[in-house]
Amino acid sequence: MSCETDARVVEVQRRALEANEEQAARLRNRFAAAGTLVVNLISSPGSGKTTLLEATVRRLGASLRCGVLEGDVATERDADRIRALGVPAHQILTGGACHLDARLVERGLDEAAFGELDVLFIENVGNLICPTNYDLGEDFKVALLSVAEGDDKPFKYPAIFSRAEVTVVTKADLLPHLPFDLDAVRERVGTLRPGGTFLVTSATTGDGVDAWCGLIEARLRAKRNG
């Protein structure tokens, strides 16, 4: 061990993820200049992100220029599902990483060459923890929670539910079969994110999808009108 008196202290006070945040700020400027609304969708694997996006672009695709960046560890499957609906999609393969970061999004965007977009949806890698910290230059984060995952999840994963401006409960058609207390979830999310938006959807029956699409349209108008 070295002599303690030789030790010096330097105060640093820097954000650990400042490099990602700087890159995200550049992306945010780029999206602002283009007038593109950017939505970052985050959930556990299989909560219904791609299915909700399919329902969304079916409704919005005719009136708005939509594009989708799909983040996955492997396979082009989710991007193929979106392209099958005639909407441009690009798959970002993270090569094992459990989340997208601003650098991957910037590169994916350049590769995708979507042209002008009204709305860019970014489907993050299925994971309720790791994507939380990584700003992608989005306008807002959406946390999806399927009713099959259990009503305790907001308090078990408070970081994402506190940071997501919008929470979407998915697969509501399964509610009759599951002990999922929707009011308790609404309350818990409200505790973590006072004033946030809480939506309940079923991509199977279409319930709540209009409200979700209405939110996207309203946020796009608000962004365009400053």
Partner: protein, 123 residues
């Protein structure tokens, strides 16, 4: 799982904060309850990040920052047990807000300048 990437960023920032050739003894970081970072996983990732490199043996000191729940009327709610959440103010029944807990910051670095001289006698 993302703690390794965060550990590497902390190491990069710490390295930028000290003179060339300095040996880092300790890096202090703030980790908030709502940062989505597990302190034990970050500590393990840090061990792996410094192992075998020029800063092998550098310690990571984690300053844990719980979130605070606050009431617009009554102020901070001290009744809150960390790790659990209150929905309504126990005093006035109003919905509570949340403050802090999102920290993920490099606070300070303790280092020894010119590691060669201070390493003591070479065997």
């Amino acid at each position: 799982m993302h703690e390794m990437g965060i550990a590497l960023e902390i190491l990069r920032i710490a390295g930028e904060s000290v003179p060339d050739g300095a040996r880092i003894e300790r890096v202090a970081v703030a980790v908030g309850e709502l940062s989505a970072v597990e302190p034990e996983l970050l500590a393990a990732a840090w061990e792996a990040a410094v192992a075998g490199g020029p800063q092998a043996g550098a310690a990571l000191e984690i300053d844990w920052r719980p979130a605070r729940q606050t009431c617009a009327a009554c102020g901070e709610i001290p009744e809150r047990v960390p790790g659990s959440w209150l929905r309504l103010c126990p005093r006035c029944g109003m919905p509570l807000g949340i403050e802090g807990g999102g920290e993920l910051d490099v606070l300070r670095v303790v280092y020894v300048e010119d590691a060669e001289e201070t390493d003591g006698e070479v065997a």
